[in-house]
């Protein structure tokens, strides 16, 4: 831990690492959405795993150690497994490359344009924080906040998980005659 902290403190190293993780994340994300070599959903799922892992690297750079771990555990460990499992279950054929619809393209570009413009607008209003960020995303502090200030949402989320579980069972069950 100490070693990683020291490593991260060095500004040049972290800058380089940021670019590495960022590029990796975005590249993998592109391959999730539009892979020029494969139309198989399994490939997409695999690149999603890579995206998530490199993102947890970004989390590390932001000193969010607990979340980085959770990200890998939950997403790579559970969600993606679920995806793969479903893909296998459905036995999807590799789909034909279809023509991109003009409407879809236009809608996509308009949407992206909108998001970018919102982003640029909000970026202009950011006041650069002069002081060096000092927050440490320690598991202890996070846990303390979670179980004091956020107790009620935490409990409700547990109920939500339960409900989701029951729902999934009901949905995927074959109809009883």
């Amino acid at each position: 831990m100490e070693a990683i902290n020291n490593l991260l403190s060095g500004s040049n190293v972290t800058d380089v690492l940021f670019y590495v993780f960022a590029v990796l994340t975005l590249l993998c994300a592109v391959l999730v959405v539009a892979n020029p070599f494969s139309r198989n959903p399994v490939t997409s799922a695999m690149f999603l795993v890579l995206t998530i892992i490199s993102m947890s690297g970004l989390f590390l750079l932001l000193h969010a150690f607990f979340l980085a771990a959770v990200q890998i555990l939950v997403y790579a460990g559970a969600v993606i497994v679920l995806f793969i499992f479903v893909i296998m279950l459905l036995d999807l054929k590799e789909e034909q490359r279809r023509k991109i619809k003009f409407f879809g393209l236009a809608a996509g570009l308009v949407s992206v344009g909108i998001v970018v413009s919102i982003f640029l607008k909000s970026l202009a209003s950011i006041q650069p924080n002069v002081a060096e960020p000092a927050l440490e995303g320690e598991t202890y502090a996070l846990g303390k906040l979670l179980f004091t200030h956020y107790t009620l949402p935490f409990e409700i989320v547990s109920v939500l998980l339960l409900v989701a579980m029951i729902g999934v069972i009901l949905l995927s069950k074959k109809k009883l005659e």
Partner: protein, 101 residues
């Protein structure tokens, strides 16, 4: 140039746009679903960055909740897709137009 919040937000934005493009343009339901996950992750990244640069842990708590909810959502969503596939033998949005009059 030192890495600041802008850089993280830019990454988050691009990730979000990629997800959005996937949702709007891809036709395979499962891929659309993965794109959705990408968008959620983009939001997570932005939140963690805000948390870091504003010296507040609450953002990370929110990310924690988002991951939990996303897990539940994926479970339910995939179950729906499976149910739909059983009925229609297809996972393409173009085949799912029964809402059209």
């Amino acid at each position: 140039m030192h890495i600041g919040i802008q850089h993280y937000l830019a990454v988050s934005m691009i990730l979000f746009c990629l997800g959005l493009l996937g949702v709007i343009m891809r036709r395979n339901l499962l891929v659309i679903y993965m794109s959705l996950e990408l968008m959620l992750n983009a939001a997570n990244l932005a939140l963690v960055a805000f948390s870091r640069f504003n010296n507040k842990l609450d953002g990370q708590v929110l990310v924690f909740f988002i991951i939990t909810v996303a897990a539940a959502e994926v479970a339910v969503g995939l179950a729906l897709i499976v149910a739909l596939y059983r009925k229609r033998q297809s996972a393409h949005v173009e085949d799912l137009t029964s809402m059209k009059l």
